[in-house]
């Protein structure tokens, strides 16, 4: 620098240097312009890159769409409920991968009934393996610290005991989806990776009072598949639940009404929020299951507008009696 400054610089040299500097500035500016994205960072929205969850349902069998078993022991009632639909072998074939989506929404202990009962989840895993499943995975997307939710709900330990694999959500497991005919589920991230690997899908949910929706049951359980700031959907809770029932076509849903969260849902907090109803529902029709389940909360299906919306969308029937559900009691 010192040497340069001491030299005589000619006009040509000065212009050359100024030109180079100008080109450098222009190059940086041009590069920045090329990389500049006038819109906010957006997810990939190309139609071909939007995903759709597979249809996991099994062929209907008359009189074997829904069962309701009453009794105090979850293990026995769920065994019976599935048996009444034709046995687990009707749903799970040898070597299949089964995804189970329990409600693991909160870091809450099993005693409070805010999440799926871990013993119930464990029994369904056992049934799947007994039917010859090659692999059982358990997945949910609780927003707040998924690992804690699985640990404190007891579902993580239940999976470990029974040989199921717990899949905790990570960013890379989400893909964008748009529901055909959907108003709310459009270009929205969905917890996809665990389910695309699966051949069958079983939803397991407790029956709970819900501050916004009125009740949280099997259809609301799919809310846990949504990523992003999904809380915005609470502003139109009935539509989002109906759309979830359109988005997810499960093999089977299990609605646990052994203990029902009657008040202060969906989080609960006190054991006094729970009431024993000793009822287990297994169903290939999620709308029918929820229509029956809401009666255990003292509600009528007409009290839950999302049931009518889901029925109208073709997700199932509110008129569960028309399915001639198998009913039995286990003392």
């Amino acid at each position: 620098m010192t040497e340069v400054s001491e030299k005589e610089i000619g006009r040509r040299q000065l212009l050359a240097r100024a030109g180079k500097a100008g080109i450098a500035v222009a190059a940086v500016g041009a590069g920045s312009y090329l990389f500049y994205d006038p819109s906010a960072p957006t997810p990939v929205q190309d139609a071909e890159r939007l995903v759709t969850l597979p249809d996991f349902s099994v062929p209907a069998e008359t009189g074997r769409t829904m069962s309701v078993v009453t009794g105090p022991d979850r293990i026995r009632t769920v065994d019976k409920a599935i048996e009444l639909l034709g046995g687990v072998e009707r749903f799970i074939k040898s070597s299949e991968t089964v995804a189970i989506k329990p409600n693991v929404a909160f870091a809450s202990p099993p005693a409070l009934g805010a999440t799926a009962n871990p013993e119930l989840v464990a029994e369904v895993v056992r049934l799947c393996y007994r039917a010859g499943a090659g692999k059982v995975i358990i997945a949910d997307n609780p927003i707040n610290d998924a690992a804690s939710c699985f640990a404190l709900s007891g579902i993580g330990a239940a999976a470990a005991r029974t040989g199921a694999e717990v899949v905790l959500p990570t960013d890379s497991m989400f893909k964008y989806t748009t529901l055909d005919g959907g108003k709310l589920i459009r270009d929205w991230p969905v917890f996809f990776a665990p389910f695309i690997k699966a051949d069958k899908l079983i939803g397991i949910a407790p029956i709970k009072d819900h501050q916004r929706a009125g009740a949280s049951m099997t259809m609301k359980n799919w809310y846990g598949l949504l990523g992003g700031r999904r809380n915005i959907f609470h502003q139109d809770i009935n539509t989002i639940i109906a759309e979830l029932s359109m988005m997810v076509k499960p093999t089977l849903v299990i609605l646990d009404g052994t203990e029902v969260m009657m008040t202060n849902g969906p989080t609960g907090g006190s054991v006094s929020d729970l009431r024993r109803a000793d009822t287990m529902i297994a169903s290939c029709d999620q709308v029918a299951a929820d229509a029956y389940g809401c009666t255990l909360l003292g509600l009528k299906p007409s009290d839950l507008p999302y049931l009518a919306k889901a029925q109208q969308a073709g997700s199932g029937t509110i008129d569960y009696e028309s399915l001639k559900p198998k009913l039995t009691t286990i003392s």
């Binding site: 240097r17 500035v25 006094s272």
Partner: protein
């Protein structure tokens, strides 16, 4: 014309400075752009702040980390987690609106685990509701029935696994993982620590509760609806209390407005809302209610009564028995008249 070395040097320096400034501005623009990215759109992202993190600067919810409230025999697990209106749903998805609609400011949570008993733990929830009325609102609307009240707090009760109480502007829950004496003893100790060390305005009171006539009032049945009372958005800051009248459980309510005209407008709007919802007017022989120009409404087989006294919109909500409803409306009207007269 030849340029002098000094001039060339100055030009070079100027160009260099321009280049550096340009690069700096580009870098700054990228930084600003990146900081605006909403990564939560791409899946999950927990944004709950802990007290040691940068995210803790959110209105300084509580001066003390909740770890300090660990009772003897228990230890705090992890750091205190703080949630604000923007991310409360991460902790209590499905119920966040219930709190935010009532003036929620922040939630701090902390788990305490038993040192001696495996899988025994409790979680402390400290909701800063911004004021005692808001705290009382969320407390009262979630109050479990038929459970013992806490003797040492104005508003508090316990269930088999949890304590719930109002401490100044805070609504506090201590939720145990199971029914356990050890947990409840620990929770009681936490409550004592909170009451002695978490500073609040002890003079803050909810004067309106004294308006309810004490005769036949069901203890601890008060509720305060900050917004959307009985599903009607126009009826806010409404107190309700349940009475047993002639063997019937009946709910009385009132909301104090800025003045008589506003009270009349709201009463009229609520009446219209009910009629639009399929309810119908019905007759009354009760002379007091007729003198008050009260509206008596058939609400799907129940009786709703609305009247105005001074700045109060008041009435009886969804009573199964019209006579009991009218009797309670008379009692409430008498009390409100006294208050309105006193405040005139």
């Amino acid at each position: 014309m030849s340029s002098s070395p000094g001039a060339a040097k100055r030009i070079e320096s100027a160009i260099s400075i321009c280049v550096i400034i340009t690069l700096f501005l580009i870098g700054l623009a990228i930084l600003i752009r990146q900081s605006d990215a909403d990564m939560s759109r791409f899946g999950i992202e927990t944004t709950a702040a802990d007290l040691s993190g940068a995210g803790a600067d959110i209105g300084a919810p509580i001066a003390t980390a909740l770890e300090a409230f660990a009772p003897s025999g228990f230890e705090a697990i992890g750091q205190t987690q703080i949630y604000t209106e923007g991310n409360l749903y991460e902790k209590i998805d499905g119920k966040a609106d219930f709190y935010t609609d009532a003036g929620f400011a922040s939630l701090s949570t902390q788990r305490f685990v038993s040192k001696s008993t495996e899988n025994l733990w409790m979680e402390l929830y400290v909701y800063d509701m911004g004021g005692i009325r808001n705290a009382f609102s969320v407390y009262s609307r979630q109050r479990r029935p038929d459970v013992p009240t806490l003797p040492d707090v104005q508003f508090g009760y316990e269930t088999a696994n949890a304590l719930y109480f109002v401490h100044g502007k805070y609504y506090i829950e201590l939720v145990g993982s199971a029914e356990s004496d050890e947990l409840m003893d620990g929770a009681t100790k936490v409550k004592k620590k909170i009451r002695t060390s978490l500073a609040v305005d002890h003079d803050a009171q909810i004067a309106e509760l004294a308006i309810f006539a004490p005769e036949n009032l069901i203890p601890d049945s008060f509720k305060l609806y900050i917004s959307d009372t009985f599903g009607f958005a126009g009826l806010t800051n409404t107190f309700a209390g349940r009475y047993e009248i002639d063997g019937q459980i009946v709910t009385a309510f009132f909301s104090k407005r800025a003045g008589a005209q506003e009270a009349r407008n709201i009463a009229q709007a609520y009446h219209s809302f009910l009629l639009d919802s399929g309810c119908t007017d019905k007759a009354t022989n009760n002379q007091t209610l007729r003198n008050l120009d009260a509206e008596v409404i058939d609400s799907y087989g129940t009786t709703e009564i609305i009247f105005v006294i001074g700045p109060f919109v008041a009435g009886v909500h969804e009573a199964d028995n019209q006579r009991a409803a009218e009797k309670l409306a008379e009692i409430l009207a008498s009390k409100l008249s006294e208050v309105a007269e006193k405040n005139r």
